[in-house]
């Protein structure tokens, strides 16, 4: 068993710009319904929270290490628990890629400050559990 780590940093202003220019097309393309719900307050959507979730998706991709393969953003979901911590849940191709690589026990932490949001993802890599290794395919 060995850990695999991914980290990402996202400009909150870039996310704000995406919302302003592309609105729901941007939101619904990238984020799941629950993620959008978690980012809403009575004052509206919070760009910092969205930026943290985008960073989490990118950090997860760095753990998954797809080889020029399309992994839809919505197949990587940040789930917020009542007490405030977050976890990452995979579905579809992201989940399949994790299984193929022998990756499990994903752990996530997110933060935002001073115009940037960051995320770090750690997963356990067990080569004995992997279903196949796309990199080694011929």
């Amino acid at each position: 068993m060995a850990p695999r780590v991914g980290i990402d940093l996202v400009s909150v202003e870039s996310v704000r710009e995406s919302i302003d220019k592309h609105g729901d097309r941007y939101l619904n393309r990238i984020y799941n319904e629950n993620e959008l719900s978690d980012c809403h307050t009575p004052q509206g959507i919070v760009a910092e929270r969205l930026a943290a979730r985008f960073a989490a998706k990118e950090a997860t991709l760095k753990v998954l290490r797809p080889v020029d393969e399309a992994i839809p953003w919505r197949t990587i979901e940040v789930v917020r628990h009542g007490a405030g911590w977050v976890e990452v849940e995979l579905s579809g191709r992201a989940a399949a890629l994790a299984a193929e690589a022998g990756l499990s026990d994903f752990a996530l932490s997110i933060s935002h400050e001073a115009g940037y949001a960051s995320a770090i993802v750690i997963a356990e890599l067990d080569l004995r559990n992997r279903r196949s290794d796309p990199i080694e395919k011929t």
Binding site: V10, S11, F54, D68, A70, I71
Partner: protein, 83 residues
């Protein structure tokens, strides 16, 4: 089409260099485009060219250069002719 792509990248790509000076096959990620900025580029391309990038094309190589974007747009325009 190349010049239209350049204009969209200049507006949405948040590059650290002047897009006008980039070769068509220059790596946009090396030129400073982040993954999030590539989303904005993708959405702006969809608006401008009236196409939609399917999930299978949402990968790094499709947006890594002006030439790669042009190839993807040509492929999509053949698949999704404008009515």
């Amino acid at each position: 089409m190349i010049e239209e792509i350049r204009k969209i990248i200049a507006e949405h790509g948040r590059l650290s260099v002047d897009v006008a000076g980039l070769a068509p096959n220059a790596d946009l990620y090396h030129a400073g485009m982040t993954s999030h900025a590539s989303v904005n580029v993708m959405l702006a391309l969809e608006d401008h060219f009236d196409i939609e990038f399917p999930d299978r094309m949402l990968k790094r190589s499709v947006f890594e250069s002006i030439s790669a974007i042009e190839s993807a747009l040509n492929e999509l325009r053949a698949e999704q002719p404008v009515s």
